[in-house]
């Protein structure tokens, strides 16, 4: 699967996603500027992305832990997600995310 990621400068990157890995891990390993300070424990809100292009609605809903952690994210919008909580899968091939401001 592929992840279409827009960075903070507006540049679009196509990142290969591995089944079972999180979108955060894929963005981080591709060298995109995502802090992910807690390493994927849903504990820091620094892997915040906006899910666009109609993909937000296709994701399984946020867990309570993610909803709570988003309270510590900046510039939260309706389509905000923590990318450590999105797992790569074939049905998400082409998912579009924009890295939130820091």
């Amino acid at each position: 699967m592929k992840i279409i990621a827009t960075d903070r400068k507006g540049a679009v990157h196509t990142v290969e996603g591995r089944d079972g890995w999180t979108v955060m891990e894929m963005l981080r390993d591709a060298g995109l500027p995502i802090a992910a300070e807690c390493g994927g424990a849903c504990a820091c809100a620094t892997c915040h992305v906006y899910v666009t292009g109609g993909w937000f609605e296709k994701l399984s809903p946020r867990s309570d832990a993610e909803v709570d952690m988003l309270d510590m994210a900046l510039a939260v919008e309706d389509n905000s997600r923590l990318s450590c909580q999105i797992t790569c899968a074939e049905e998400l091939d082409g998912i579009e995310v924009t890295i939130a401001p820091e």
Binding site: A35, E37, C38, A41, A43, C44, A45, T46, V67, D68, M69, D71, M72, A73, L74, A75, V76, P101, E102
Partner: protein
């Protein structure tokens, strides 16, 4: 007056703590500086309750438990902690030792400095609102140090965590007006605080708005109003003179960047024999260092602490011979640990 010791450690996370142990076995004393108000670094700040599975010999341990165990382990060596202080300056003295200063004015003089600062300092998250820097310190604050400074102010607090709720409750009686804004009608905070805040709102003591701050308006650092946007994207202006955003902490390298060390992408390059930077006497261990094959694992930091300590001994005790000993068999080490 400056404090003198063998080793000044920046960072009281797991690696800084274990360094105290390894240094202690060699009779080297340590002072630790940390910007947080308690030991543990990321382990206690970011994931106190999350299990860690790759600490040798501890199949499962939480960040808090690991910190507690390390504190128990270093207890015989009685390190001195300087919490809630940011290591802000490093200079070399004429006698070859280093002087580490903090933003609280503490000065620590030591032949060896160990940087175990992880990703840097935990600092408040700054909302990405245009021009916010220009209001910081005058109208925009990320913490409440003296409550009296907020007396009579028209305060806007943003956030949905414990800090946002606690300060809404505490500042309400002294503010001329207080408004809390949060992007949803739910909170990541203690339920009794949420209940208290809702009671204050119900009695008209504070206002609570489901909204986000989009823009700041004012001049010369003095805030007059902000633009708020509601859940329905409708925007309106809200008059206020003080804005306190509470979105938790994030990690920034901070003043270490200005210590004159050889940095590569915010990491300190070290050798893998002593984990010393290219500046003699300055060591870097744990997540903050880099070398060929580096893995950012707690267990790697422990190893680095052990090797760093051997090298630190030779700097601190140039005329003494270092004898390698095992804690299992050395009565000398066991005495230091208080078990023999």
């Amino acid at each position: 007056m400056a404090l003198e010791t063998d080793v000044a450690i920046i960072g009281a996370g797991p690696i800084g703590l274990f360094a105290v142990f390894e240094l202690g076995l060699l009779d080297l004393k340590a002072h630790l500086v940390d910007i947080l108000d308690r030991p543990g670094g990321q382990c206690t700040e970011l994931y106190p309750e999350k299990p860690i599975y790759d600490i040798p010999g501890l199949p499962i341990v939480t960040g808090q438990e690991l910190t507690d165990r390390l504190l128990e382990q270093v207890k015989p060596f009685n390190p001195t902690f300087h919490f809630s202080q940011m290591a802000s300056g490093l200079s070399k003295l004429a006698d070859g030792r280093w002087k580490l200063t903090t933003d609280a004015g503490t000065e620590i003089i030591a032949p060896v400095v160990v940087i175990a600062a992880g990703g840097g300092s935990f600092v408040p998250k700054r909302p990405p609102i245009a021009g916010i820097e220009g209001y910081e310190g005058t109208s925009v604050h990320y913490a409440v140090r003296k409550m009296d400074a907020f007396r009579g102010k028209n305060i806007l607090i943003a956030g949905g965590g414990d800090s946002a709720l606690d300060w809404t409750i505490n500042l309400a009686p002294i503010a001329s007006k207080l408004t809390l804004v949060h992007h949803r009608d739910g909170f990541r905070a203690a339920q009794h605080s949420v209940n208290q805040m809702r009671a204050l709102a119900a009695h008209g003591k504070i206002n609570f708005e489901i909204a986000s701050v989009k823009a700041l308006h004012g001049n010369d650092g003095q805030l007059h109003a902000v633009t708020l946007a509601g859940a329905d994207k409708r925007e309106w202006e809200h008059a206020c003179d003080t804005f306190i955003p509470f979105f938790g902490l994030t990690i920034k390298l901070g003043p270490i960047a200005d210590f004159g060390l050889n940095l590569t992408e915010n990491l300190i390059g070290v050798d893998t024999q002593k984990f010393e930077s290219t500046t003699p006497g300055i060591f870097a261990i744990g997540d903050i260092n880099t070398y060929a094959g580096k893995l950012k694992l707690i267990l790697s930091g422990f190893h680095e602490a052990a090797l760093m300590s051997q090298a630190a001994f030779h700097i601190c005790r140039p005329n003494e011979k270092l004898r390698f000993q095992y804690t299992t068999s050395s009565s000398n080490l066991q005495k230091k640990l208080g078990v023999a």
